[in-house]
Symmetry: C2
Subunit: 98 residues, 2 copies
């Protein structure tokens, strides 16, 4: 969710926290996780920390996802399987998907 914001433009912690319905520490903590996952980087500007997306880490993640997809497609090709007879009754919730 922070990623979505940072995708629009690099921002300081304060700017991010200002518009979100959570406290500044919450934002800092979230950003730390993203930083450790190498999804964002930061640049110091005086007392401020300007966060932006980390291209390298995001690309790594993208590579993983892509490889998963190709694996999926490969698997489908391998099994030549169109599972469309055994239907399901209940489908309630959707994933929030980030």
């Amino acid at each position: 969710m922070l990623l979505e914001r940072l995708r629009e433009q690099p921002q300081s912690v304060g700017e991010l926290a200002h518009r979100l319905p959570v406290s500044q520490p919450a934002v800092s903590q979230h950003l730390r996780v993203l930083r450790e996952a190498r999804l964002v980087t930061l640049r110091k500007d005086g007392a401020r920390r300007i966060y932006s997306l980390d291209r390298a880490g995001l690309d790594e993640l993208r590579a993983y996802v892509e490889s998963f997809w190709s694996g999926v497609l490969g698997a489908y090709a391998a099994h030549a399987e169109q599972p469309r007879q055994g239907a399901i009754k209940d489908e309630k919730e959707r994933c929030n998907d980030e």
Copy 2:
């Protein structure tokens, strides 16, 4: 993680649970979540339930992820930004990424 297994081949709950370090109900519960998220489907084979990846739901998810990536790339193009001066000291953990 179950997705990785199912990517290799469709399997029954028992087969999945057999190799994993968790109980069968844990697997069933996990599968239910995946089913509600439309990431897997099932086919009945006697008393067995053979689970496999749900192409349609996965494609939906993929579409979201791809749109995010294009947004990322677009943002980079827009800002023409190579954030490479403000380095970071500590990068400890990596995300397990699913």
